[in-house]
């Protein structure tokens, strides 16, 4: 009986570790621009092929949230020399938080660019992402 309980516990532990190994959102990426603007980029789940959601939190150097931006998001695969097939969609959630819907069609390293507004002079983040 004790034997069975030990086996069941081991099985549960094994399953739990197997489930946690490749799923769940990765650690958020925090980046800073020269003027102190901070961006926190947090995927909702592990980045994979197809649709993905990434929450972006933007604050000024004095930690106040940056609101009302029309974010321009794009991504490129520098190792292969190509970009996305569909333009990402960004929407504002409030209090400096934004949601980006982005579709990846290939696994590997992507560089996501997030410009804080339109025009070539808009400051922008370059966020490395690993799609698996």
């Amino acid at each position: 009986m004790r034997h069975h309980t030990c086996f069941a516990l081991a099985l549960v532990a094994l399953l739990a570790s197997a489930c946690s190994s490749n799923s769940g959102p990765p650690e958020p990426v925090t980046l800073r621009l020269a003027d102190g603007t901070q961006g926190i980029f947090a995927p909702e789940d592990a980045l994979g092929l197809g649709e993905n959601m990434i929450t972006i939190t933007l604050t000024r150097a004095d930690a106040t949230p940056i609101t009302g931006l029309n974010l321009q998001v794009d991504a490129f695969m520098p190792a292969h020399g190509h970009g996305l097939r569909q333009p990402p969609v960004a929407s504002e959630l409030g209090e400096g938080r934004y949601m980006v819907h982005i579709d990846f069609h290939m696994t590997g390293r992507w560089d996501m660019s997030v410009a804080l507004g339109e025009g070539e002079d808009a400051p922008s983040f370059s966020v490395p992402l690993e799609v698996r």
Binding site: G50, P78, G108
Partner: protein
């Protein structure tokens, strides 16, 4: 008996040439950008010309990340069907071979959260020149006869033509219409074939590839000068002829890709590495002109052997060849 041995040798030579061209460039130049790796040449050494049709199927089962870790495909299905027509002719006492291939591809892509799509189109064509540098012995290696140790040595030069749709010209939301690499690729290689016996050939080949630079752009319009990394492929194969009709063999291939360059800067972590192994079975069903070859190969599905490969999985192909 002697005549039988000579004829068998001829078929072994034909089959060996076949084994080397079973995975033409089109097979791996899929929607991703890790193209090439194929071997050049179509015509058996003792034949004047040949026409080929190869039907290939590849299914992606996973991918290799930059750190060499293998990841099974999640929420996606990626399937490629290729029909590749090829032809070649031998000139100047069979020493010079001119060949070419043209693939047509049917690709299906389906990812989580989006509708699947399937597209048909031309893949990247290839043109090649082969030169037999050394005409080796076909007698099989005998220890005390140095003449039997002379291998066949072939030099192959080729070019991949970007006739398939490039990644930056894709209109399909899943990229199912990306049929080629988008750039010219220059190829050069050597192939060493040794008759270890009257029935067995060992072949070693090496192929260098250099993709030419081009301008690419992202969806938002950002433009870059992109040059794919150079690559070297190594392939070893063993072939055994049971009789004049049946032969079979095993092969392993590895391809090492150097880093790509973007705007003249090396792209960090973009070097790639692949490894695959497979087997083939060849049947001459109308002596001596019609031949069918079934080939299967697979990439490993565990961490370590590969690196930076967006799509790996099993490949199956059937090659029909009419020799003249």
């Amino acid at each position: 008996m002697l005549r039988h041995a000579i004829t068998l040798t001829c078929y072994l030579l034909v089959a060996a040439a076949c084994a080397c061209c079973l995975e033409p460039s089109g097979a791996s130049a899929q929607a991703c950008c890790v193209g090439g790796g194929g071997q050049l040449g179509v015509v058996g050494r003792e034949r004047r010309a040949a026409l080929t049709a190869r039907l290939g199927y590849q299914r992606a089962m996973g991918s290799y990340a930059n750190d060499g870790s293998y990841h099974g495909l999640r929420g996606a299905s990626i399937d490629d069907l290729t029909l590749e027509l090829g032809g070649g002719v031998r000139l100047f006492d069979h020493r010079l071979e001119l060949s070419g291939t043209l693939p047509t591809r049917l690709q299906h892509r389906s990812y989580r959260g989006s509708q699947g799509s399937a597209r048909v189109g031309l893949g990247d064509a290839s043109l090649g020149v082969g030169l037999m540098l050394i005409r080796g012995s076909v007698d099989g290696v005998r220890r005390r006869e140095p003449g039997t140790w002379i291998p066949f040595l072939d030099l192959n030069l080729g070019v991949l033509v970007p006739s398939g749709r490039a990644p930056e010209n894709s209109h399909d939301q899943n990229g199912a219409d990306v049929m080629g690499g988008g750039h010219f690729t220059l190829q050069g290689g050597l192939r060493l074939s040794q008759f270890v016996s009257l029935r067995q050939i060992l072949t070693l080949s090496v192929l260098f590839e250099r993709g030419l630079a081009r301008d690419v752009h992202s969806l938002a319009g950002a433009s870059h000068r992109y040059r794919p990394g150079a690559a070297v492929s190594l392939r070893a194969s063993w072939l055994y002829a049971r009789d004049m009709r049946w032969s079979g063999g095993l092969f392993v291939t590895t391809r090492l890709g150097r880093p790509a360059h973007q705007d003249r800067e090396r792209v960090a972590g973009s070097a790639s590495r692949s490894f695959s192994f497979g087997a083939l079975l060849s049947w001459v069903f109308i002596l001596p002109i019609w031949e069918a070859t079934l080939s299967m190969s697979v990439d490993p599905f565990f961490s370590g052997p590969g690196r930076n490969l967006p799509q790996v999985g099993p490949r199956l192909s059937l090659l029909m060849k009419r020799s003249f």
